[in-house]
């Protein structure tokens, strides 16, 4: 016990899990938000609103249980052998999958708001020039909504970064620098949650864990400030 601590593996694990979650959830949310605001009939929105609300309200521990029951075996039995590896399924990919579902309602809600603030005249003008509806979306809406989309994604990112229990339950918690998505990881929030019990028995361990919490806080606040500011600007300009 030299009183030295390193957080490199934990930060890398956190990045892996978060980026995978965003890569999975981002496109789905974007496509679905366009569908719901541009194409879908009102009845679809009336169905999807409660769905989004309930999904947002499900506690993270339930997502964790679902991850253990459904995602972990799926990754272990199907995804692992696909790459010729035999793994338990407790891996960064499982964490990313569970997280992706958890952040979908947050990102989707913001994206729907963003697309709603874009004035309808823009669409109408472009349609009158002979463009198809999809061309309007591609060339006008997406460009206009770009800052809003970026901020929705970064809010989702920060939400994923701080998520604790659900990830902790499926990610494996092995202290090693992960080099692939099928390996177990050990993200920062899981580190704090797993070790608070021993916090007072090892000298200066409490400071190290609090530093982990500080890193988490600073990153999340930074992302939040940037994205909230972007949203604020979008809302002011329209």
């Amino acid at each position: 016990m030299s009183g030295q601590f390193g957080m490199y593996p934990f930060i890398i694990s956190s990045l892996w899990v978060t980026v995978i979650a965003l890569l999975l959830a981002g496109p789905v949310c974007l496509l679905s938000a366009i569908h719901l605001t541009q194409y879908a009939r009102p009845i679809v929105l009336r169905i999807m609103h409660p769905v989004i609300d309930i999904l947002a309200g499900i506690p993270s521990v339930i997502f964790g249980v679902w991850g253990v029951l459904a995602i972990v075996p799926f990754v272990g039995d199907h995804i692992g052998p696909l790459f010729g590896k035999s793994i338990t399924g407790y891996s960064i990919l499982s964490g990313g999958l569970v997280l992706a579902v958890m952040i979908i309602p947050f990102i989707l809600n913001i994206l729907i708001e963003v697309f709603r603030t874009i004035p309808e005249e823009l669409t109408e003008v472009t349609l009158s020039l002979g463009a198809t509806h999809w061309m309007v979306i591609k060339h006008v809406l997406l460009r206009k909504a770009f800052p809003g989309i970026i901020s929705a994604f970064s809010l989702g990112l920060s939400r994923a970064f701080g998520e604790t229990i659900a990830v902790l339950m499926v990610v494996g918690n092995v202290t090693r620098i992960p080099t692939g998505a099928l390996q177990p990881g050990y993200p920062l929030p899981a580190l704090i949650a797993n070790n608070y019990g021993e916090m007072l028995s090892i000298p200066r361990y409490d400071s190290a864990l609090m530093l982990a919490a500080l890193v988490l806080l600073v990153i999340v606040i930074l992302f939040n400030i940037i994205s909230r500011w972007l949203i604020f600007r979008v809302e002011r300009n329209t």
């Binding site: 569908h35 769905v51 309930i54 997502f63 604790t164 229990i165 929030p189």
Partner: protein, 285 residues
């Protein structure tokens, strides 16, 4: 580009977008189905009505009443504290400060950022403050931490509803000679009562479902708490601890506990929907 290509591109993306929406719907159905499918078999009246008995964690007799009641105590306490702070703040922002746009924007901005802070950070913060005051993990410490964590949710949800109240209402009540506080509690509060109820239920749901903030602060025990200074069991932690057990019976109980928590959350969501509709009738348009 030829028209045919354009049409084909549009059709392709319409299909993909429709699939994306379906995926989201299916994800929710799959979660609820998986939890119910695995857990319903193990749910029994004993599970809900009894405390853990000797050998409970090795698969023997008992239930998780301690965790259910503990969670309800904790979430109710925290929600009540949060609305005691949250409602006046939301009213103050919308009525007393409504001319000071910059300040209001700054406050909303800060609250949004606070909403984004992960609950584990609140937990770590609560734990450090507890250590500073020499407190043990207890119901009170957990309640205070969860209150901190749900106050931004509470204020911002009430605030969002109050934003939609027409400004004419404020002006006309003031012109009739009422004070700002009378306007706030007699008019705005009544006008927004459905929003306040929804905010309360939303915060309650957050409070009852969060594990990371109570992990440090509330502790865990097999007994029912008899005072605020005792540690308390909570449902999310009950699920978490039982699931990490290697014994099959205990795991089964974790699934059953997950069913109980899911049902509580679904009921809360249903009640908030119904109440939002019910109070809408009394609203001045």
């Amino acid at each position: 580009m030829k028209l045919g290509v354009r049409k084909a591109e549009e059709l392709f993306f319409r299909v993909v977008m429709f699939l994306a929406t379906t995926v989201i719907l299916l994800a929710l159905l799959m979660i609820i189905f998986t939890i119910l499918h695995k857990g319903l078999a193990a749910v029994s009246w004993k599970m809900i009505s009894q405390l853990p008995k000797g050998g409970f964690y090795f698969g023997k007799e008992g239930g998780i009443l301690n965790a259910i009641l503990g969670s309800i105590y904790l979430a109710s306490g925290a929600s009540i504290l949060a609305i005691l702070f949250g409602l006046p703040v939301a009213l103050y922002i919308n009525i007393h400060l409504h001319k000071n746009k910059r300040l209001v924007t700054a406050i909303r901005f800060m609250l949004d950022v606070m909403w984004g802070i992960p609950s584990i950070v609140y937990g770590a913060f609560g734990f450090t403050v507890m250590l500073f005051f020499g407190m043990r993990s207890s119901l009170l410490a957990g309640m205070l931490t969860v209150t901190l964590f749900i106050i931004p949710i509470m204020i911002r949800s009430i605030d969002e509803v109050m934003k939609t109240v027409p400004k004419g209402l404020l002006e006309s009540t003031l012109s009739l000679g009422s004070t700002k506080s009378e306007t706030a509690y007699r008019v705005y509060f009544k006008q927004c009562i459905s929003g306040v109820t929804t905010a309360l239920l939303l915060s309650f749901g957050r409070a009852i479902g969060d594990a990371a903030s109570v992990l440090f602060t509330t502790g865990y025990t097999d007994n029912l708490p008899t005072s605020l200074s005792e540690p308390t069991a909570t449902l999310p932690l009950a699920i978490f601890f039982q699931l990490s057990s290697p014994i099959a019976e205990v795991k089964e109980r974790a699934y059953a506990s997950a069913v109980i928590l899911t049902v509580i959350i679904l009921i809360i969501s249903l009640v908030s929907r119904v109440s939002a509709r019910k109070y809408l009738k009394h609203k001045i348009k």
